[in-house]
Each structure stands twice: as structure tokens, then as C-alpha cells.
Assembly symmetry: C2
Homo-oligomer: 218 residues x 2
DNA sequence: CTTACATCGACCATCCTGGTCTAATTTTAG
DNA sequence: CTAAAATTAGACCAGGATGGTCGATGTAAG
């Protein structure tokens, strides 16, 4: 914090959102270097001068977006992960669901962050770097802290580590295909329901194939 | 064809390659619009004028690269796919291996084509469009013509279509991780061997889990 | 009225772009 | 040998986009 100016925060939230959304979209589509402040103000419907009145430079605007995105990820993705689920498959599936939910609620932030992580175009101030580091560590712990997953359910003739990896690829693959399909057009609710059902069926197959016979699920 | 000029083809192949590689790299990294002819000539170590002497414009240079890349894909990827393999898993694994081989032999072309398919920045002349279409059709047939795969090996309590899909995601996931890991530094031969062995072990697990007990492989 | 803040968009210096052109050099031909 | 033809390099160009500035104007408060 410290980069966002008071003047911006005093704006009515409608205008704030318009600006933030426009900026997220532009940076998310083009990356830092290619992003154009001209296009941002045009999309946001404000005068050029205002952008540099609220934020002092392109860089500070970008920093504000990073900060805001990290907050959102922490609040609406990481904090929502239930780490009491002990079944590996259910756990991975749960994470995938929460992630997908974040993706549908905040598509702009998602796109912005993907670009951010892929291309790391702009430097960050130390405070932000630390925050990023903190969130990454926390998230990594939440998502990949699988060391203590219950291996006893796996059938004995496969290495549980590898089986775990296989399951992860599968779920990632499904999620990836899903996101791919809905990059442009938003999914209809019923279509979405159908897809979740399908997802469950895939999970069922995974359990059938990787777990011992006669587990406790119906 | 028809866009590449004779003057360029008369060059000694060293110089040709330098130019082609530089151009593939630039377009592959930046995409059509962002790619800079200045950087290309600099990287290739030739004068600015020459690029427009060999090819007449940025666009024709690009077309030449597309053409050349399609030829390579046809010759060194698609034509090398052995479609006599009837075991689903072995077949998918085989394709993955051939693809990976192409990727390691022609990293520039691979990157160029990914960017090409993702962003389709520049228009193509009709002849090239047709060629692209032809290669795509042929490739799609080779890679996804799975309608007649042998379902009898799958265990009876899972839907073979879904099982097939699961296997595909798995293999894609492994290949994806592999490529990710070697984006910058090239793999050592022994490291590569280790990874192929690991790949085979994953395949074995897949067979163990998705096929009926007591298949014919050792 | 004055003062302070808010808003706009014309404007600016700068940079980079694809492409051209001249002038020099090398190669080929006669 | 000369002369014509092919090849090379890079200074140069007009055009367009960039991040950022600034004076003009509006608005609200005291």
C-alpha cells in the first residue's frame, strides 16, 4: 500500500470499478509493456489526465492491480480451501472447484494474474514483493501440502506417489479443457451442472481404478 | 510457394538458416504484430535492406516461415506416427514421444507454431490457407482417429470413452510438465533417459489400473 | 469573490515501426 | 581488362503509438 492515492479511493465505487476493470483487462490481455494507458482511459470512459491524477504513473497503477489481485486470491480462493478433507481425490477435486469458482467470479483478475506470472514484465516495490511471496507460500502450502495424504486407500500394486501425480494431471486436464471451452462465452447454469456431474463421474472412475476394491463410498 | 524469392534460395545454407532461425525466434516470441524486422536482421547479422531484398515484406517473410513450418510438421511429426499400434495407451504414448522428439529437434518451429495457432495475427494467402487446412486435417486424422481403438482391454466397470479421456489427460499432463521443465535449459541425455523410464512406469500404472487383470504384457 | 479540488483532452518529446534508397562492393560476363 | 549486374549495408523516412504534462474549465465550499 502507499501507491494508491486517496483521491482514487474517494471516488464512487462505480467509477472505481470501471477503471479497475478496464485496467485489469488491458494488462491481462497485453501484458505490462504492451498495455496502453490510452486504451484504458478510453475503455474506462475517463479523461487521460485523471488516470495520472489518481495513480501517478502506469507502474503505480499496475502495482495497485497486483495488490488488489493478491488480496482477492487470498480472500476468495486460498481462504476457501477446506484442508480437512483427507481423501486425496476429493481434496484435489475440491481445490479444483474452488479455483474454478474464483475463475468465474473474477475472470479479469484471473487473466491478469496468469499474464503476471507468465511474463513478470514490471518490477515490484519491496512491500509488494513481500506480499506476493507471502501469498505464494501460503497458497503453495494449502494446495500442495500433500505429504500427509492417506495412502492406505490406494491399491497395493501401484506407487501412491505416482498414482497421486496421475490423479493430479487428470484433474488439471479436465479443468483445463473446461476453461478452454468457456474462454469466451459464459456457461449456462444447466450446462455447468452437467459438467460438474461429468466431473464427478470422472472422479468416480479414478476411485474405482486407483483405490482398493470395496472402499467405503457408495 | 511463390512468395520466397530465388535470391534467398541461392544463399549458402548457413546464412539462410541464420535468417530463418532469427525470424522464427522473433515471431515465436513476440507474435506477428510485435515482431520487429530490426531485431531480426540484427540477430541474423545482416543488413536491414537484405531482408526486404530476399522477401519483399514482413508479411511474405512470415508466410515463408509458416510454409516451412508446416512442411516440417508434416515430414517430421505426422509422417512419423505409426498408426498400426492398436493398444490405446501405447498409441497415445507413441504419439507423445514423436511429438516430443519434434519439439526437441525443432524448438523454434514449435514455439513459432504455438504462437501462430494461438494468435493468428496475420492473414494468409489462399495457397497457404489450403496447405494449412490439408495438414491440419491429416494431422487430426492421424492423432485423433481413435474411433476404432480396442476397448476390449478395459476393465468392465469403467466407461471406455471416459477412461480413454483420462489416459489422454494423463499423458498430456506428463508431456506438459516435461516441456515446462525444459523450456530454457536443454535436457542432458541421461536425464532424458531417466524421464522416459519414468514415463514408461506411468504407462504401466495406467495399464494396471484401467485394463483387465491378466493382460498379455510382461 | 477566492480557494481548492476535479476533470478533460490537446499536446509533447520520444521511441519504434516497416520499408526505401543510395552508395559501395562483389560477382559475373564479354 | 572493363562494364554491367547482382548483392550488401545502414542511414533515412514518414507514420503512428507511447507515457506523461498542462492549461482550461467546471464545481463546490467558505
Amino acid at each position: 500500500m502507499g501507491y494508491a492515492l486517496k483521491s482514487f479511493e474517494k471516488l464512487d465505487s462505480d467509477k472505481q470499478n470501471r477503471i479497475i476493470r478496464a485496467a485489469l483487462r488491458e494488462f491481462g490481455k497485453q501484458g505490462y509493456d504492451r498495455a496502453s494507458t490510452n486504451r484504458i482511459v478510453q475503455e474506462a470512459g475517463i479523461g487521460k489526465g485523471m488516470l495520472f491524477y489518481y495513480f501517478n504513473s502506469k507502474k503505480e497503477l499496475y502495482w495497485h492491480l497486483v495488490d488488489l489481485s493478491l488480496e482477492a486470491v487470498q480472500r476468495e480462493f486460498l481462504d476457501k480451501i477446506d484442508d480437512s478433507i483427507d481423501d486425496v481425490i476429493d481434496r484435489l477435486a475440491h481445490i479444483s472447484r474452488v479455483k474454478w469458482q474464483f475463475f468465474t467470479v473474477h475472470p479479469e483478475i484471473s487473466r491478469f494474474l496468469t499474464h503476471f506470472f507468465l511474463t513478470d514484465g514490471a518490477e515490484l516495490p519491496d512491500a509488494l514483493k513481500e506480499k506476493l511471496d507471502r501469498v505464494m507460500r501460503y497458497g503453495f502450502g494449502k494446495v500442495y501440502e500433500n505429504k500427509r495424504f492417506d495412502r492406505s486407500r490406494f491399491r497395493e500394486d501401484v506407487d501412491p506417489e505416482r498414482a497421486h501425480q496421475l490423479i493430479e494431471w487428470t484433474i488439471k486436464g479436465y479443468a483445463g479443457d473446461m476453461m478452454e471451452r468457456f474462454k469466451e462465452k459464459k456457461p449456462e447454469p444447466e450446462e455447468l451442472q452437467r459438467l460438474w456431474d461429468e466431473f464427478d463421474q470422472y472422479l468416480h472412475i479414478l476411485k474405482t481404478c486407483f483405490y482398493k476394491r470395496g472402499g467405503e463410498e457408495g
